[in-house]
Symmetry: C2
Subunit: 177 residues, 2 copies
């Protein structure tokens, strides 16, 4: 599933500019489990327009580039519907933290501690962000948010209860890798 399809999804929530769609990936409802940036979003919107899956109306602005507001067409709606009927790709997860953990026994204890501390801080921040629902969240967004909350909470608990396991096996203070 590529950025074009994701943009179609973004537009289900209402018309939006490329700039606003980008924000959905950076801060908004997509930010925790998808990513895309200007470099892929703008070209995607152009392609979608060419294919008639979205329409674009330009709103002239003074002192700024014209705002291009995109909306889903019937064809675009159907196209998204079809994409959601296809077999979805399994989740992809990539963690350099977990990679580093595999070598905990070869890293200085201070480094392992820092790694865990940083991760816990990052995860707690995520939890804070996700804790309060937005009033205009759709039920699906709400579900996704709570799902994320459950997973992050479990991660934090696990790390706090088990960090000693990798900290103990780390080497005193020297690098041994």
């Amino acid at each position: 599933m590529q950025v074009t399809t994701l943009c179609l999804g973004a537009l289900v929530f209402g018309e939006a500019t490329g700039y606003e769609i980008n924000k959905m990936f950076e801060d908004g409802p997509f930010s925790h489990f998808l990513d895309a940036s200007y470099g892929s979003i703008y070209p995607a919107l152009t392609r979608l327009t060419d294919e008639g899956l979205v329409t674009c109306k330009a709103e002239p602005q003074e002192k700024r580039p014209d705002k291009k507001v995109y909306s889903l067409t019937e064809k675009g709606r159907r196209s998204l519907g079809e994409a959601l009927q296809q077999t979805l790709a399994p989740d992809k997860f990539r963690s350099e933290f977990l990679f580093a953990v595999l070598f905990a026994h070869l890293l200085p204890r201070s480094r392992v501690r820092t790694l865990v501390d940083q991760r816990l801080a990052a995860m707690k921040e995520k939890v804070e962000q996700m804790t309060d629902p937005d009033e205009d969240d759709t039920p699906g967004m709400d579900f996704a948010r709570q799902y994320g909350l459950a997973v992050y909470t479990a991660s934090i608990d696990f790390l706090e209860n088990n960090r000693h396991l990798i900290e103990e096996i780390a080497t005193e203070e020297e690098v041994h890798v």
Copy 2:
């Protein structure tokens, strides 16, 4: 962090062929949080050899291509150590399932049910795979495995307890996207 560095990490556990390293990503200790395939592993090993970070001894085999067994050099060990001291990239997570969930209110209930069922089945299989530790796991591998177990278990619990939320909002039996 690119595949070259990941290969360095793979070789910390002992010498290996490209084929064996690939298995570490497919089934082995890396499979749950990293990925790489032949198309990136073989070129990586060539580059690492050129740079003196690994050595390669060819073991002639009859009726098969020569086996090329790679081992880490001192320089390679140091290089990995340095990579692990750098700031690590935050986890990346991509989920088409969660994307689809955002549109649950527009999907037929049967589709939402299938999606959840498939996901639960996949996660339960993962849990089964990860439940029994391998005797030659390092402490780091053990930690990563248990971490994964904690996260998957939480995911399963959440899904089982909350699936009704998205199933209820799904549309009766027609596609409405």
